[in-house]
């Protein structure tokens, strides 16, 4: 059974004018899906809608077989859908450690004034994240705004992982980052997916790197799924992608998708 299941999902900023139309998307536990497509295709809109930051204009969404009823960020997080937004949305003046600790929560009803036992539990959870991203441990007391771009992205992902996501949605992981850093972060994500069975949807412009770690690729063009393919098949035939991206011709892509 799929961990994430979207059925005829419509998404967009305004009613009556969906940017993304009728998306069906399934992601299995431990699977990484690269969501590709040219700018303006609606990738971010789709992700933010699933995370409840944008209103859902139509369709169904379920996580691990349970429907995500209301479209607001907290019920998305409670259902296990966690987004790493493209602007990373860190708390820049707070330290790395504070950013992480804020994300530790066993359940939504936890009071904001935490006791001692919770504090040590939080420290243990933060330590798990530092195991994934050791450099965050060395920068624990540095304000997030002063981290390097790569560390900021690691922090954003770490913060998301602390919420024990069943489905992790990551938007534009590579934005502004050198490829070698992107590659190392993607390797960690691969290990996370394999170890915890987390389903990961990766919106990524750095196609080659994305396809290296992904199991499957979905290409979105003008709000429709133009192409679905195994990641390695697509990596072997980049011309298919280039046509969809630079030519902007949906027809060609669709042909390939249906074949």
């Amino acid at each position: 059974m799929s961990m994430l299941s979207a059925r005829s999902l419509d998404a967009g900023h305004m009613k009556g004018n969906p940017v993304v139309r009728g998306i069906d998307l399934d992601v299995a536990a431990g699977e990484i899906v690269a969501l590709l497509g040219p700018n303006g295709a609606g990738k971010t809109t789709l992700l933010e809608t699933m995370a409840g930051l944008l209103p859902r204009l139509g369709g169904e969404l379920s996580v691990d077989g349970t429907a995500v009823a209301s479209a607001d960020p907290r019920s998305a997080v409670r259902s296990g859908l966690v987004l790493v937004p493209d602007d990373r949305a860190l708390f820049r003046k707070l330290s790395t450690e504070q950013n992480l600790k804020l994300a530790v929560r066993a359940d939504a009803g936890r009071p904001l004034f935490g006791g001692r036992r919770r504090r040590s539990e939080a420290a243990a959870r933060v330590a798990e994240i530092v195991d994934w991203f050791p450099s965050l441990g060395r920068r624990a007391r540095v304000p997030a705004g002063q981290l390097s771009g790569g560390e900021q992205q690691m922090l954003a992902i770490g913060r998301a992982l602390l919420q024990r996501p069943k489905v992790l949605l990551i938007d534009e992981l590579s934005m502004g980052l050198a490829p070698v850093i992107v590659e190392s972060i993607l390797q960690v994500l691969r290990r996370v997916a394999d170890a915890d069975g987390t389903a990961i949807v990766l919106v990524e412009q750095h196609v080659r790197l994305a396809l290296e770690v992904a199991d499957r690729a979905v290409v979105l063009v003008h709000g429709d799924i133009a192409l679905e393919s195994g990641a390695s098949e697509l990596a072997a035939d980049p011309a298919r992608l280039e046509r969809a991206y630079l030519g902007g011709s949906v027809a060609e892509g669709s042909d390939l998708a249906r074949n």
Binding site: N39, L94, R139, S148, E172, M175, A178, S184, G248
Partner: protein, 952 residues
């Protein structure tokens, strides 16, 4: 020694300012509201406490008994606890009922709503409590000691200690508890809080409870020391706001220190004004917050920390008056008839309506047009009125000159208070005007040695050529001639304000109101326009004030110009509609003492109703009542014909083909933009030739918009930028625009309430001989002439893009920077836009085109520059770029040289982390991997609207 004693005496008041300042900071941090009602909350707590101590429960809700007998006096502690707890409940109610629904509203609208809440609370309590303040027994030990010759009570010092302790506690909570950290986090990034599963809503609710409790503590503790009084307690907010501004609405320690300092300095000032001869007799204490605010804003000029919410339109639409003749004739006729058929007190009410309408017009200019909220228009009128008394009675300046000079005096004061507008916008200015109102009332209007005092405060009745224009006395009071004088002044002012709305200055004001950034990019000197608005508005208010002086004849009491009347009047103006002349006329009728209150005598409920309606207006009906009237269809005769757009035949540009590329016009050398540790653009060199279109492409976060921001003056940078012979690097944005550099914004910052024609007119260069022709040519060039009269808010996305391009081209720029003009267009529209751009270049303009639509860029551009990670990685013809492997690599990450080049000296890839700096290093330099636009959480702080590079 004596000075020290007086400073110590001020600690008690200072502590209250500090407590309220602390409450202001907490509320602002968690919900972005500058809560003007904080003083009113303290007032509620103080009265509740005082009544509980007496054995009564104060019920502020009208319609019930004012008090409930509790059968016995309460002790200090339970009474204080209950009063503080009720304050917390009040704070939560305010958040849930008023400010939670306004979560997404702009900060200014929230502050105006807070003004409404302040009026409501103050009016409710004023109606429900005894005239004589209940005596309150001391809470702290009232021992005294002497410093020099002065006896100082320990009471105030105790209060100071308690408030400082409270502030320290608040600071500790914010820093060390999960709740505090979550508050800071949500203040910084609401998006971040949402994806972390925090609830900004709950955090805000808790903070409202805590901040209102803090205000309540301040109110309860000061009640034994300062006699209870609804106005005085509510006005504790002014020094508290000054303190919070010093702390920039974020630092608790600075706010508390500033609050204490204001209290102590005020006490010292009060001592000086009794002991030092040359010191003014009163109002020096009130000058301290005002001076602090003005100096602080001018020197530091810091904006309040934004809260990242998407700001929508603060104010209602300001429709363009299309026809003046018919409304003027009808209006004057109605006015004349109203004056003729009435007499006595009804005629007085008519006259009051006319006079208040003049003052309302001043609010239209400063708030409705220029978007600056002033709470002091009535105060400025008062300044003029008292000046008139001086000019006419003591200097014997004759009639038309004395009131004009008086209005000029008001104008000078208005400009001084408006000076911070050069540096800041919005909220701090609103605070400054409130401080001015408090100061002038105490310093001037209430001061016998300045206001003329008793018999000296007479105003010489107006007369011209022997014609008596005075309001008269006894038989025939009020005289018709005075009414006609008021009607004439109102008519002239109304026509002037309507004309202003149609003028280029008016359009510039609306442009500033809509978006200061894009106004500057259109060549508008934003600071100058705001100051001009303040000047015009203050002059109008001054004229109104002069009429008020003639109406009362004797200015011995300041009752006409009290702070609360000024605030109530602001509410009435806002309710009627602050964006149009017709709104001002309606406001005149609705003003206190004018026709409406004559017919509908609701007495004490007037202020209460104003407050409630103000909140309702801000939340539901920003256009005001008049906005509703405008929606009623008029008979055809009264409706304006759409002005014809003129059919100047525009010669199609001779060169449609991409030819005529001339010499270099724009040269950018070694341009670098750094935001803290992150280099967003590094060492970029490129140039533009005359008539050339160059594409600027690159993946998200490559630094494209940052580069355009740097060239146009919206981002700090190093390097050289030359436009022809002009060095742009040191010029302000509007000067770069005037030098011939045009730009569009990717979030299309059109002025929604202006028509297409006006939007484009705003872009016309001031030196243009024939602006109308220019506008029509540009509209024709882009083939949008048929949209000229449409309001920008009604356009489709594609049309908005074209209007935005047209506005920029109307400035006849030599170089145009286009930031994603095809965003939101479908491929057909985008191709069409490409054709229009190609046509526009025929006039010799060079363009730098950022867009993600490859078809558009590759088809229309002569050359393409590719940016990745802040550096230029390729330059060439579209054909070269299409096949350049580095470009494909940057976009798709497919194998190519760029993938290797981009990270030459990267840390060893076996470790996940880039270990480029020691862990302790607080601000690592990162020469090796610049992360353009990438330091997430938020992108590098550009100006206010900081949209992501692209919404995928």
């Amino acid at each position: 020694m004596n000075d020290l004693a007086f400073l110590l005496l001020g600690v008690g008041n200072g502590a209250v300012y500090a407590a309220l300042g602390l409450a202001l900071v907490m509320t602002f941090k968690s919900s972005g509201v500058v809560n003007f009602a904080t003083g009113a909350v303290a007032l509620y707590a103080a009265y509740t406490y005082a009544y509980l101590r007496r054995g009564e429960f104060l019920n502020p809700i009208p319609g019930f008994d004012k008090t409930v007998d509790l059968g016995g006096k309460w002790d200090v502690l339970p009474a204080a606890l209950l009063a503080v707890a009720l304050s917390a409940v009040l704070g939560m109610l305010l958040y849930l009922v008023v400010f939670r629904p306004m979560r997404r509203a702009p900060a200014l609208a929230k502050a105006v709503a807070a003004i409404g809440v302040m009026l409501v609370l103050q009016a409710l309590l004023a109606m429900r409590v005894d005239e004589t303040p209940p005596p309150v027994a001391a809470i702290f030990p009232r021992e005294s000691f002497t410093v020099g010759e002065t006896v100082v009570s320990t009471e105030g010092l105790w209060l100071g200690v308690v408030v400082v302790g409270l502030a320290a506690l608040a600071a500790l909570v914010l820093r060390y508890t999960r709740f505090g950290v979550a508050t800071e986090a949500a203040a910084e990034s609401e998006r971040g809080a949402l994806v972390t599963g925090l609830s900004p809503d709950r955090i805000a609710l808790s903070n409202w409870a805590l901040s209102s409790a803090t205000a309540g503590v301040g109110g309860v503790l000061i009640s034994p020391m300062v006699p209870l009084n609804p106005v005085a307690y509510t006005m504790f907010i002014v020094p508290a706001l000054a303190a919070a501004l010093v702390g920039n609405f974020s630092s608790i320690s600075l706010t508390v220190l500033a609050g204490l300092a204001i209290g102590m300095l005020s006490s010292e000032a009060q001592k000086l004004q009794t002991t030092v001869d040359w010191f003014p007799d009163s109002g020096v204490a009130q000058a301290i917050p005002l001076l602090l605010i003005l100096i602080f804003l001018l020197v530091r000029g810091q904006r309040l920390p934004g809260r990242g919410a998407v700001a929508k339109q603060d104010l209602g639409r300001s429709p363009r008056p299309t026809r003046l003749l018919v409304p003027t004739v009808v209006g004057v006729a109605v006015g004349v008839v109203a004056l003729l058929v009435t007499s006595g007190s009804v005629r007085l009410a008519v006259i009051a309506s006319l006079v208040f309408a003049v003052i309302a017009l001043s609010q239209v200019v400063v708030t409705g047009y220029a978007g600056q909220v002033s709470l002091a228009q009535l105060t400025l009128a008062g300044a003029s009125a008292y000046s008139l008394a001086r000019f006419s009675e003591q200097l014997h300046i004759p009639f038309p000159f004395a009131p004009l000079l008086a209005a000029l005096a008001a104008m000078v004061i208005g400009v001084v208070v408006g000076l911070p507008a050069l540096r800041v916008r919005g909220l701090p200015l609103m605070v400054a005007t409130l401080a001015l109102a408090v100061f002038l009332e105490a310093f001037w209007f209430n001061n016998p040695s300045l206001n003329g005092g008793g018999a000296q405060a007479m105003v010489t009745p107006p007369s011209i050529f022997g014609l008596d224009l005075s309001i008269g006395a006894g038989e025939g009071y009020p005289q018709l001639a005075f009414g006609v004088l008021c009607l004439v002044v109102l008519t002239l002012c109304a026509l002037g304000v309507a004309w202003l709305r149609r003028s280029r200055l008016g359009a510039a004001m609306l442009a500033v109101r809509a978006n200061e950034r894009s106004a500057a990019a259109s060549g508008i000197n934003v600071g100058a326009v705001k100051l001009t608005a303040f000047a015009i508005a203050s002059f109008l208010a001054g004229l109104g004030g002069a009429l008020m002086a003639y109406q009362t004849s004797n200015m011995a009491t300041a009752d006409l110009f009290r702070v609360f009347t000024a605030i109530t009047l602001f509410a009435v103006f806002y309710i009627a509609g602050v964006t149009s002349v017709s709104g001002a006329l309606l406001a005149g009728v609705m003003a206190p003492g004018a026709l409406l209150s004559y017919w509908l005598d609701i007495g004490d409920y007037y202020v209460l109703a104003s407050g409630v309606l103000l909140v309702v207006t801000v939340v539901f009906n920003p256009d005001g009542l008049v906005g509703q009237l405008h929606r009623i269809p008029l008979p055809a005769v009264l409706r304006a014909r759409p002005a014809p757009i003129g059919d100047i035949p525009v010669a199609p540009s001779p060169e449609h083909a991409p030819t005529a590329v001339g010499g270099p016009v724009l040269a950018v050398e070694d341009l670098t933009v750094r935001y803290g540790a992150v280099t967003a653009v590094s060492g970029v060199d490129f140039g533009l030739l005359r008539g050339e279109i160059v594409g600027l492409i690159g993946p998200n976060g490559a630094g494209k918009t940052t580069l355009v921001d740097a060239i146009s003056g919206f981002a700090p940078c190093t390097g050289r930028i030359r436009l022809g012979e002009t060095d742009l690097a040191t010029l302000a944005p509007h000067r770069r625009s005037r030098a011939g550099l045009g730009r569009t914004f990717q979030d299309i910052e059109l002025y929604d309430e202006l028509s297409v024609l006006e939007n484009v007119t705003v872009g016309v260069d001031a030196g243009d001989d024939d602006p109308h022709r220019t506008v029509r040519e540009v509209l024709a060039l882009l083939q949008i002439g048929d949209l000229a009269e449409s309001t920008a808010a009604d356009l489709s996305q594609g049309q908005r893009q074209l209007v935005s391009v047209a506005r920029m081209l109307a400035g006849r720029p030599t170089v145009a920077l286009l930031d994603e003009p095809a965003a939101g267009l479908d491929s057909g529209e985008s191709r069409w836009l490409g054709e229009r751009l190609a046509a526009a270049r025929g006039s010799g303009v060079s363009m730098l085109l950022i867009d993600h639509d490859m078809d558009l860029v590759l088809s229309v551009c002569d050359r393409v520059v590719v940016l990745d990670l802040g550096s230029v990685i390729a330059t060439g013809t579209p054909e070269e770029i299409r096949t350049d492997p580095r470009v494909m690599a940057a976009y798709l990450g497919t194998e190519g040289p760029a993938a290797e080049e981009a990270a030459p000296e990267e840390a060893a890839p076996e470790e996940a982390a880039p270990e480029d700096s020691a862990p302790e290093d607080p601000a690592p330099e990162e020469p090796d991997h610049p992360a353009p636009d990438g330091p997430a959480g938020a992108r590098p702080v550009r100006n206010d609207s900081d949209a992501p590079e692209v919404i995928a």
